[in-house]
Amino acid sequence: MFVRGLKRKCFDGEEDIEGTLAGIKAIPSYNLQRQSLLDMSLVKLQLCHMLVEPNLCRSVLIANTVRQIQEEMTQDGTWQMINTQSTGQASLDRLVSTDILCRSSREQAEGKHVPGYSTFTKDFEGDQAQDNSETMSTASSVQAPRNLQSNVWEMENPQENKGNFQKSLDQIFETLENKSPNSVEELFSEVDNSYYDLDTMLTGMMSNTKMGHCDGLETFSSPSTTTSNSNCKSDLNELDHIVEILVES
């Protein structure tokens, strides 16, 4: 099943894992590590939005990494795992593997102040209104992956580049939504509604409600269908076009 043995070099600490069990566990552990990397990347993209303005280069690089993982997972046929595990039970395994993954350097990092990542999560905790986000800290804490992924979309700040940029990942998930329509459609249902509010966006209030997109969960009732998603997208394009003109004039 390991078509390309070259991938063995991907992860830190991998040698330890392979050393103990002569390659038998290497295959599931690779998947686990890959999944951890995917989760970590999604968290990073989400945290991007808390900054002054996201570093576009960093966001693009992380998104490309996510895309790469998803492409590979699609080819391997393991993409379905994400949806079946969206209830959150297997999440612990995946996050634990991140712990194993980065253990040696995390111990070192905890001893020293690592500014970027942990600071962002603290800010995130401070600003959060939603219960499901308050528990989010380092990767070693328990966090339901569905909330993780749904938070990526709900937290998004509808500025021109970020909004459009998130949509690119939107589409990746969208192509896979056919495999499990229910959970993924629910993911999309809340996102686009926030863009309808042109007025609040133009008066700059949307950034104040970027945490409040979670509040949006309470106000928006049932998940919409795929047709409404495409309507959302065309409206979104118009909106972005308007914003683009305003920004660049």
Binding site: K7, A63, N64, Y117, Q159, S168, V247
Partner: protein, 465 residues
């Protein structure tokens, strides 16, 4: 490299350190750019708080012929202030991303400084005399009653304490939607370029209300965005040629004579990926953080996360030289991704041109050595690295207050990648990833280097014999 090598090797000694001694770093004091002016007499730093500090080298003291002049503070000014973008509801950071000096044309000095959105042209001028003896004004500035004036005198200039004034002469604003990462002055000394993540604009130094867009890689549909511009620079001699690097590890050379919008490159420099090193982090570590032309313009140097590459402008398919800065980090990429260090943007620089480097030519009688012969770049743990292109030797040095004695030769450092750690070596796991040297600069004529740690500026000189 230092010490036991041949007589031509440079021996670096600590000279000075500027900045707070505290371990507790104030965020505003984080140094974000370092640049010598064209003569090397002035050294400018920019910080996260939007300030520019310029140091001036003392005139060489004839009695102290064993060391060159020290750098002392010459001028400090607030270049950029934090702003608020009301449309996007976002703060615009005042952090100075780059400083570039203009060549000196008269008594004043000029530099360009930029934050994420706005470029400013600053004039730094000295005043050491003031006029005295006005007819209509008292010395304190109060106006005299004209009816009390019975004689006339000619005002004269009298000496005063030196005052260095910085004033903004031009403000180039509202031309960048994305964050400016580079500015580069053209060899015509009339125009310059500014590059953000997706676009490059061409400006005239005299004209602030418009600029020309010369590169635009923004896709029509932002969903398709996969690559951004990371750095750009004009060719040192050809005023129509510039290069820009990308997050995918490519460099494009463009000729402005070809078309108004240089979306089609004249040359594309890209090294094919090494399949044995492929991982999910391959693209991230291939992202180029800095690009610098050699003084002749024949070569250019790029910095990606793990290496420095030298490219011959005549060969697009691979670099002519590659130097590993900290290969021992390759097995740690996942951790460095988690703590975001993998996104650190290291800069690189060439040694200064001319005189000093001709020492190498005594050995190489039959052909001229490459004068841009040493490259320098930073790493973690306050280490910085130099690679000698002629001898193929490299050295790791540390910027630390512990090597504080002037004229003491710096001890080379070594990182132990794996296995048994020898005495004086440092293991990879002990490296402090918060102590990073992102910005270094080499004096244009002398062997003097400026190395910026998080909030301190170190100046090292070679040991003059």
């Amino acid at each position: 490299f230092a010490g036991a090598g041949g007589g031509n090797d440079i021996q670096w000694c600590f000279s000075q350190v500027k900045g707070a001694v505290d371990d507790d770093v104030a965020e505003a004091d984080i140094i974000s750019t370092v640049e010598f002016n064209h003569s090397g007499e002035l050294l400018a730093t920019g910080d996260k708080g939007g300030r520019v500090v310029i140091f001036q080298q003392e005139q060489e003291n004839k009695t102290q012929s064993h060391s060159r002049g020290e750098y002392n503070v010459y001028s400090t000014f607030q270049s950029h202030e934090p702003e608020f973008d009301y449309l996007k509801s976002l703060e615009i950071e005042e952090k100075i991303n780059k400083i570039r000096w203009l060549p000196q044309k008269n008594a004043a000095q000029f530099l360009l400084s930029t934050n994420d959105k706005t470029i400013k042209l600053w004039k730094i001028s000295e005043r050491d005399k003031r006029p005295e003896g006005y007819n209509l004004k008292e010395e304190d500035g109060r106006y005299r009653d004209p009816t009390t004036v019975t004689t006339l005198r000619v005002p004269v200039f009298r000496p005063m304490d030196l005052m260095v004034e910085a004033s903004p002469r031009r403000i180039f604003a509202n031309a960048h939607t994305y964050h400016i990462n580079s500015i580069s002055i053209n060899s015509d000394y009339e125009t310059y370029l500014s590059a953000d993540d997706l676009r490059i604009n061409l400006w005239h130094l005299e004209i602030t209300d418009r600029s020309f867009n010369i590169v635009d890689i923004k896709p029509a549909n932002m969903e398709e965005l996969t690559e951004v511009i990371t750095a750009a620079e004009f060719h040192p001699n050809s005023c129509n040629t510039f290069v820009y690097s990308s997050s995918k590890g490519t460099i494009r050379l463009c000729d402005m004579r070809a078309s108004a919008l240089c979306d089609r490159h004249s040359k594309l420099f890209e090294e094919p990926e090494d399949p044995s090193n492929r991982s999910f982090f391959s693209e991230i570590i291939s992202s180029i953080s800095d690009v610098k032309f050699s003084h002749s313009g024949r070569y250019m140097m790029t910095r990606d996360y793990l290496s420095v590459k030298i490219w011959d402008l005549n060969m697009e398919n691979r670099p002519v030289e590659t130097y590993q800065v900290h290969e021992y980090l390759r097995s740690k990429l996942c951790s460095l991704y988690e703590n975001d260090c993998i996104f650190d943007k290291f800069e690189c620089c060439w040694n200064g041109s001319d005189r000093q480097q001709r020492r190498f030519s005594t050995e190489l009688f039959f052909f001229l050595p490459r004068l841009c012969s040493i490259v320098m770049t930073g790493s973690y743990n306050n280490f910085f690295r130099m690679f000698d292109r002629n001898t193929k030797r490299d050295i790791t040095l540390e910027a630390s207050r512990e090597n504080n004695k002037p004229r003491t030769v710096l001890k080379p450092r070594k990182v132990c990648a794996s296995g048994k750690r020898k005495k004086d070596e440092i293991s990879v796991d002990s490296l402090d990833f918060n102590k990073k040297i992102l910005h270094t600069a080499w004096h244009p004529k002398e062997n003097i280097i400026a190395v910026a740690t998080t909030n301190n500026l170190y100046i090292f000189q070679d040991k003059m014999n």
